[in-house]
């Protein structure tokens, strides 16, 4: 029972009134900023960092962690209601979530997302409690070649995600990949598409692209249809998803939890890939994949579960190895340093009460979030009843303010406007924004990982097959790419052909 002692002591730490209070404060702030489009947990934590100087380290981290996973809950709300994904990991939620909201099922979408987030988050904490030291090394086995394979698999998923015209999706994805190349080449220092501007030296941030193309683009488009406001959904009272919805989504939630937990451990983009993988998996498993993109509850429940599970498991590399998995974790790393605690392999032994205090606070935090979010869903969906003439400018303003906070730069605000116009034009001419944004996110990962791998391999591409994980991932890639083609060829001989999925995969490989 030696193992359980520090765990139980950790609960004693959490149940101290101060820590409980900070946990509550953290999740409330997190949820609120999650609702404000563009203002992400990283910017919030940076602003609130000075508040934590004078409290105990464990208390500080409990609060900051609460902000982080609280924001994952809140982020869903804008994705579903306003088509504004605040984080790369909630982009796929937009596809079906916003459609559900349009059909008057916003409450169901948000309710499912909350339940999924709770289950995913809690499952990941349980995983974190029992498996952290074992799975931590998983993060280290992922080198550049593995990320290359993962990114390629991700781009293949982009292909399956789109539901509209394949050629247009391809054009949008290509544009996304092109945008990912903007900035100083990290291998040679050469400036690419920066037009001599230092502002573009580090490339384009995800937030201006997502905010502009999804959010502002949508607002601009809606301005064309003046009377849309009158059609605001009225049946928004049923927050609690029906038994049938839950049944439909339960598998997605279960699979999302597992997928999110494992992919979240990977530094860099784990949560994004987890949510995409979950969406693609649900679509592939579905009996009628054509429902996706038109308001399928699994399309919300799966990815939302996965990104919350991933948000929680991304604490594993930080707390067990001292490796921050994303920008927010890097801030958390800084916050710990300020407190005089150095996150590293020895943290669990040297500071068990900190480690277990933080981990156990997440159980409490998740329960608090579930309790808060379900009744709040009813209030949030009322946003949709606000007249577009009021809602649109307010949303646009908050979006622009949020964009400013990323780098404290007016340039990003300008970018949101530019991408807003691009998003509007795309929508007008029937291009889906999803492939563009996701290809943008994965493009950078793919390029840098691939070039890094080739350097390691001395330029020999066969090296990818010499490593077990990358070889396996590439085998999966080939399988996923080729299988529908084979199946398509087989089914063609039979009278009933389900060719909906087949050609799209072939085209995009």
């Amino acid at each position: 029972m030696d193992f359980l002692n520090p765990v139980i002591n950790g609960f004693a730490v959490v149940l101290e009134p101060t820590n409980l209070l900070y946990c509550l404060v953290g999740v409330v702030i997190g949820m609120l900023i999650g609702v404000l489009p563009g203002l992400g947990p990283a910017a919030t934590i940076a602003i609130l960092l000075p508040l934590t100087y004078n409290v105990e380290p464990v208390t500080a981290i409990i609060m900051l962690a609460g902000i982080f996973y609280g924001a994952q809950y809140g982020g869903t709300i804008t994705s579903v209601l306003l088509r504004l994904p605040g984080e790369a990991s909630s982009v796929v939620t937009v596809f079906d979530g916003y459609q559900m909201a349009k059909q008057g099922r916003a409450g169901t979408a948000l309710g499912l997302a909350s339940i999924g987030s709770f289950i995913g988050g809690t499952a990941a904490i349980i995983g974190l409690t029992f498996l952290a030291p074992i799975v931590a090394s998983f993060a280290l086995d992922f080198g550049p070649p593995e990320y290359t394979a993962l990114a390629m698999l991700g781009i293949l998923l982009v292909a399956t995600i789109s539901s509209g015209s394949k050629a247009k999706a391809l054009v949008a994805a290509a544009l996304g990949l092109l945008l990912a190349t903007v900035g100083r080449d990290i291998f040679t220092g050469e400036s690419r598409f920066t037009f001599g501007s230092l502002q573009l030296a580090d490339g384009i941030d995800f937030v201006p692209i997502a905010m502009g193309i999804f959010g502002l683009g949508e607002i601009l488009y809606n301005l064309e249809e003046r009377h849309r406001a009158a059609k605001a959904p009225s049946k928004v009272t049923n927050v609690w998803p029906s038994r049938q919805d839950l049944k439909q989504a339960s598998g997605a939630i279960g699979r999302g939890s597992v997928l999110g937990f494992f992919l979240g451990i990977l530094p860099g983009g784990g949560a994004t890939i987890a949510s995409m993988a979950s969406y693609a998996m649900e679509k592939k498993r579905a009996k009628q994949p054509e429902r996706f993109g038109k308001g399928a509850p699994e399309g919300v429940a799966g990815p939302e579960t996965a990104n919350n599970a991933a948000a929680t498991s991304s604490f594993i590399p930080l707390l067990t190895l001292g490796i921050p998995a994303n920008a927010t974790m890097a801030l958390m790393f800084g916050a710990l340093l300020i407190q005089g605690v150095t996150p590293g392999p020895q943290l669990v032994e040297q500071n068990p009460e900190l480690f277990w205090g933080v981990v156990n606070s997440m159980y409490i935090g998740n329960i608090l979030l579930l309790i808060m979010s379900l009744p709040l869903v009813g209030i949030f969906v009322k946003i949709l009843r606000v007249r577009a003439a009021i809602l649109a400018p307010v949303t646009a303003l908050i979006t622009l303010l949020g964009a400013y906070t990323i780098n404290n730069s007016m340039f990003d605000v300008t970018l949101v406007v530019v991408f807003g116009i691009i998003g509007y034009l795309m929508k007008k001419f029937g291009f889906e924004p999803g492939p563009l944004v996701l290809a943008f996110v994965l493009g950078e990962l793919l390029e840098s990982s691939m070039r890094r791998s080739l350097l390691v391999f001395g330029g020999d591409p066969l090296g990818f097959f010499g490593r077990p994980i990358s070889a396996t991932l590439l085998a999966v890639f080939v399988l996923v790419a080729v299988l529908p083609a084979i199946r398509g060829a087989l089914t063609k001989r039979k009278p009933i052909a389900i060719t909906a999925v087949t050609p799209e995969i072939k085209e995009k490989v």
Binding site: I47, R184, G189, P267, G322, G334, G340, G344, Q346
Partner: protein, 333 residues
């Protein structure tokens, strides 16, 4: 001292809005400030790196102390981009009234110009240096699976080694490429975005070696997950007494990261004095000393003139080394 949360948040939001307004109106706040009344409002401390990194933490520790001496808040504003060139150039263009400061890293002045085009580089003469801060040493670490215990093992390996750097035009890249040329070791330079991913790659043996800042490497060194081979400082680092310097091993490659506080060129002398006094007060506080120790930073609290002279010397030295060994930091060999 507990701060009431909402006040800070409101302040943050308010200063963000003011900044927004100022930028939008094209710096209407220019003109001559009355330097006798300095500081006339919050002193903005811009950092060209993301929040949470070592440069940012130094700025925050310094601002915490200096704001007390100055009697005005000193908000830290992160404007990451182009290794910090963006933030530095922006502050250099602000009115020289001491209300705008920037945390300057030496590599931006001494090393980055070797890798980027002339107009993207920052010239130290465009700024007034208020005070030098500290020295952050680079350490060459090896993965445990590589079997390297000392640098002699690397030099005698007789094969191509892979080494991670923290990016193009960084001290990490310069130190390693010069060292390997001097030791006649064949190596493949693999750039990462920053120190943490490079360290992660060494931990997973994706690359055999990497040079990163000591503060980042230390927890892994202490845990025995990576082996420290060399430090690039001129003298042994007091936090890592047992690791030899590159100089002791017979190589001429003195590289470290230095940091200083800078203001726009032409800041009035009395304003600079007030700022310097505020920083010196901070240097003396236990909290700041403790911060340096915790973050493995060696204090190098020298005057602005000394900073300029030293950094220019390093810049010349690195240029000479790079030319001598025919090294191109931009990887287009």
């Amino acid at each position: 001292m507990m701060h009431f949360p909402t006040r800070r948040t409101v302040l943050g939001a308010a200063s963000a809005l003011t900044l927004l307004a100022l930028t939008a109106c094209g710096n209407v706040a220019g003109g001559k400030a009355d330097s006798a009344k300095y500081p006339s409002g919050p002193v903005n401390f811009t950092v060209g790196q993301a929040a949470g990194g070592s440069t940012d933490l130094i700025a925050r520790a310094l601002a915490e102390g200096a704001s007390k001496s100055l009697g005005q808040p000193m908000p830290v504003v992160n404007k990451p981009g182009a290794n910090g060139a963006l933030a530095t150039k922006e502050v250099a263009g602000k009115p020289a009234d001491g209300q705008e400061l920037v945390l300057l890293t030496a590599s931006l002045i001494t090393i980055t110009p070797l890798a980027v085009s002339q107009d993207e580089a920052v010239n130290i003469d465009d700024l007034d240096i208020i005070a030098g801060l500290s020295q952050d040493d680079y350490v060459l670490v090896a993965s445990t699976q590589s079997g390297f215990k000392t640098f002699d093992d690397v030099a005698g390996a007789g094969r191509n080694v892979t080494f991670g750097t923290t990016g193009v035009g960084t001290g990490s890249q310069l130190a390693q490429t010069v060292l390997f040329k001097q030791a006649d070791v064949k190596g493949t330079d693999i750039p990462f975005d920053s120190g943490k991913p490079a360290l992660t790659a060494v931990l997973g043996n994706q690359v055999e070696l990497a040079t990163i800042q000591l503060g980042e490497a230390m927890p892994q060194i202490e845990a025995g997950k990576v082996a420290p081979l060399l430090v690039f400082s001129e003298e042994r680092n007091s936090f890592l007494q047992d690791t030899p310097t590159a100089k002791e091993a017979g190589y001429d490659v003195p590289v470290a990261q230095y940091r200083a506080v800078a203001a726009p060129k032409g800041t009035p002398a009395d304003v600079k004095e007030k700022l310097l006094a505020a920083f010196q007060d901070t240097f003396k506080t236990e909290a700041y000393k403790e911060f340096n120790k915790k973050n493995l930073l060696t204090p190098k609290e020298i005057s602005g003139e000394e900073v300029v002279a030293e950094w220019k010397e390093y810049a010349a030295k690195y240029k000479e080394l790079v030319e001598k060994y025919d090294i191109s930091l931009s990887g287009t060999k």
